[in-house]
């Protein structure tokens, strides 16, 4: 079992990531993008800088032109992004879509897409959710019918993260009746019959509805085997889940530290409110929850990197733990800030809003507890 301590190069990477996020304005940037109603919801110049640093290829192997680093490194980037609420679609485009393409794509698909993805010239968005799918990867109603040499896709995907401005979509569709008929397609954004509509979400991130009306794609658009989409999709989702856990860890740590600072600076009844034991004990409990979350995330990332037998179990352990801790910390953060925390002017609300999106990404705590129980045969 790998050591749960950062190596010197990992420490360096974490520092570089933190510097990048704060250099571009930290949380203020997220607020500005929201207020401007920025169409992309993120900053192309930051995305380009991440590409220059090689980060858009961080989890992709060197044979694909990536840096060949693991989830242990990936979560350091997402943690820094979570601390500063950086809205770049790193998890969806790089960890999820890039990883899925590298895992299941043909040589032609990888050659066509991975280099421009890693360079930041093109961006893919995984289209996972449908209105009725909740967290079930196989709860897919989008249909794919054979059409000449290729396929014809119809259906509607919702809350496609990074969907606005994406150059292509990874789409799961049902190719036959039954549970195993899930097939993945790589569909370019300019395909006829594909419509992208921006969605407004509470976290003001890039999110879109993708409507498919008899979208015709060639046979070469199939990613992996026909009917064999569920397995690579599950692997990609597990990696993306751990990356999201890194973001959650960063977000909860930052919201917590800001709250502790507030307890040390706000006075009522003539004393600092941080002297009140009612608040101290709750702060201490949050600290413990964050420490446990950090251990769970670091371990899950290393379990995936090592191909450990209990990797899925650890992923669900980390996501359930982080979901509970994140909601505890952001709700308590707002409560401890009092009335000022309810104002839009104060940043703590931005953390709370993003927290909810992360909680529901790839399954909430209850979903992952159920998955843990199933994997352990409870």
């Amino acid at each position: 079992m790998a050591s749960l301590v950062l190596t010197a190069p990992q420490e360096m990477l974490a520092r570089t990531a933190a510097e990048l996020v704060s250099k571009h304005g930290g949380v203020d940037r997220q607020r500005r993008l929201r207020d401007e109603g920025a169409e992309l919801g993120y900053s192309p110049e930051v995305w380009a800088e991440m590409a220059d640093l090689g980060w858009l290829g961080i989890p992709l192997s060197e044979e694909h032109g990536g840096l060949g680093m693991g989830m242990a490194e990936t979560v350091l980037i997402t943690e820094a992004m979570g601390r500063g609420l950086a809205p770049e679609p790193f998890v969806s485009a790089v960890v999820f879509a890039g990883g899925l393409l590298a895992d299941a794509g043909s040589a032609e698909q990888r050659a066509a897409w991975l280099p421009p993805l890693i360079d930041g010239e093109k961006r893919l968005a995984p289209a996972l959710l449908e209105a009725g799918s909740r967290y079930g990867l196989d709860r897919v109603e989008t249909q794919a019918r054979t059409n000449g040499d290729g396929w014809s896709l119809s259906g509607e995907k919702v809350q496609v993260v990074g969907g606005v401005g994406a150059d292509g979509f990874l789409i799961a569709a049902r190719t036959e009746d039954g549970d195993n008929g899930l097939t993945l397609f790589l569909v370019p954004a300019e395909a006829n019959g594909l419509e992208v509509v921006a969605q407004g979400r509470v976290d003001s991130r890039n999110s879109a509805i993708v409507r498919l009306s008899d979208v015709h794609v060639p046979a070469g658009a199939v990613l992996g085997a026909v009917g064999g989409g569920l397995e690579p999709l599950g692997r990609a989702v597990d990696r993306a889940t751990v990356a999201v856990c890194g973001e959650m860890l960063g977000l909860m740590t930052e919201a917590f530290e800001r709250t502790i600072e507030y307890l040390k600076s706000r006075s009522q009844f003539g004393v600092l409110i941080g002297t009140f034991q009612a608040l101290k004990h709750r702060a201490a409990k949050m600290f413990v929850e964050i420490e446990l979350s950090r251990s769970a995330v670091m371990s899950a990332a290393r379990a995936i990197d090592e191909g450990s037998d209990d990797a899925e179990l650890q992923v669900s352990n980390a996501k359930a733990r982080c979901s509970d801790a994140l909601i505890l910390v952001t709700n308590e953060a707002l409560q401890m800030h009092g009335g000022i925390g309810m104002t839009d002017e104060h940043d703590i609300g931005l953390f709370m809003k993003r927290a909810r999106a992360l909680e529901f990404a790839f399954g909430d705590a209850a979903f992952h507890r159920q998955r843990f129980a199933r994997l352990r045969g409870f």
Binding site: K264, L272, T275, H281, A283, F287, S295, N317, F372, F378
Partner: protein, 335 residues
């Protein structure tokens, strides 16, 4: 004493090697050959704070299992507020003369020696007038009375000191510097109590639940609420175990130990108590046995271990005290 130096009867193993030894012993379902206060508390404290003569006198005897130790910390009026302890020690030539009463002295009725905190200066800030001293329980003037607990057992005692004479060379650390030694020892105690939350040696929760609650047609624990609680407990134990590992990895990598032992004491004991409560729920009415027929030995034992576990969040510094320590020493919140 896997990690103690060989000179003192240890095996001189590294932390990693000792961990492997512990895991292998646990895997075989065997108890550790030596446990107790000598092994887990006064031994490590002597290694940190004892003089060469003190180590040479006491450590080999602990390693050979020849003497048993008990702990004289709490007093009737010094529980959570330990530093207000009043048992006095007055210098008389080469001796300290000790008068007062200790309480919750585990195993005092069977112990050969006691390590205790005494007040050597009543005129300074309370933490600055405390001394850490070792006392032979055979000394004239020591009296022990066992206390019967709610579990029916008497693992704790009241220990009275009436003009007990202890040689000056049995002071550990500096005279009036005992609070520093005491805190270090409490760190060892918390780590040792906190270790219980990892589960491990005891009954398997899911196995117990399958036996008592039954399984549905899919082989799952046939009560969704119990199943959810079992899952939560197992997941908490996993993350807690990983946090202990991460902390150990950090020490191995040269990080300085901090006040984390309070986190382990707090979370480990709360988790263990939750586990005991859950085992009670799982066994249901069969967990109500006290003695005699109608109950399996494991069920009778369950009643007692559950009752005993209620002390976990009290002994060694209550959960509330641990949260105070985290708030002050880790988070830097003001007094």
């Amino acid at each position: 004493m896997p990690t103690w130096p060989e000179d003192y009867g240890g095996a001189g193993l590294s932390r990693d090697e000792a961990l492997v030894l512990h895991e292998e012993i646990a895997r075989l379902g065997l108890p550790m050959p030596l446990t107790g206060f000598g092994y887990s508390m006064i031994g490590p404290t002597l290694l940190d704070h004892g003089t060469e003569a003190q180590r040479a006198e006491h450590l080999p005897k602990i390693a050979r299992g020849e003497i048993r130790w008990c702990q004289g910390y709490s007093e009737p009026n010094a529980g959570s507020d330990l530093a207000s302890l009043a048992t006095s020690a007055v210098r008389d030539g080469d001796f300290y003369v000790i008068n007062g009463q200790k309480i919750w002295t585990s195993g005092a009725d069977q112990a050969d020696w006691i390590f205790m905190l005494v007040r050597t200066n009543p005129d300074v800030k309370k933490q600055r007038g405390i001394t850490f001293i070792l006392v032979d329980m055979e000394s004239p003037g020591v009296e022990v009375r066992p206390i019967r607990l709610i579990s029916g057992a008497s693992p704790f005692c009241e220990t009275f000191f009436h003009n007990v004479r202890a040689p000056v060379h049995q002071v550990i650390g500096d005279v009036n510097g005992g609070w520093t030694v005491a805190k270090a020892l409490l760190g060892h105690e918390r780590a040792s109590i906190g270790g219980m939350g990892r589960g491990g040696a005891g009954a398997s929760l899911p196995g117990l639940a399958r036996d008592y609650v039954g399984v549905d047609e899919n082989g799952r624990i046939d009560d969704p609420a119990i199943r959810e609680r079992v899952t939560q407990c197992e997941m908490d134990a996993m993350s807690y175990g990983l946090t202990i590992k991460r902390h150990g990895d950090g020490l191995e990598a040269g990080h300085k130990p901090g006040p984390e032992s309070s986190m382990f004491k707090y979370y480990g004991t709360e988790l263990n108590m939750r586990r005991e409560e859950l085992m009670l729920s799982i066994r249901g009415p069969q967990a109500l046995g006290w003695e005699g027929e109608g109950f399996e030995p494991a069920e009778l034992n369950q009643t007692r271990t559950w009752l005993r576990s209620r002390a976990n969040s009290i002994e060694g510094g209550t959960s509330e005290i641990q949260l105070n320590i985290i708030a002050k020493r880790v988070l830097g919140l003001p007094d």
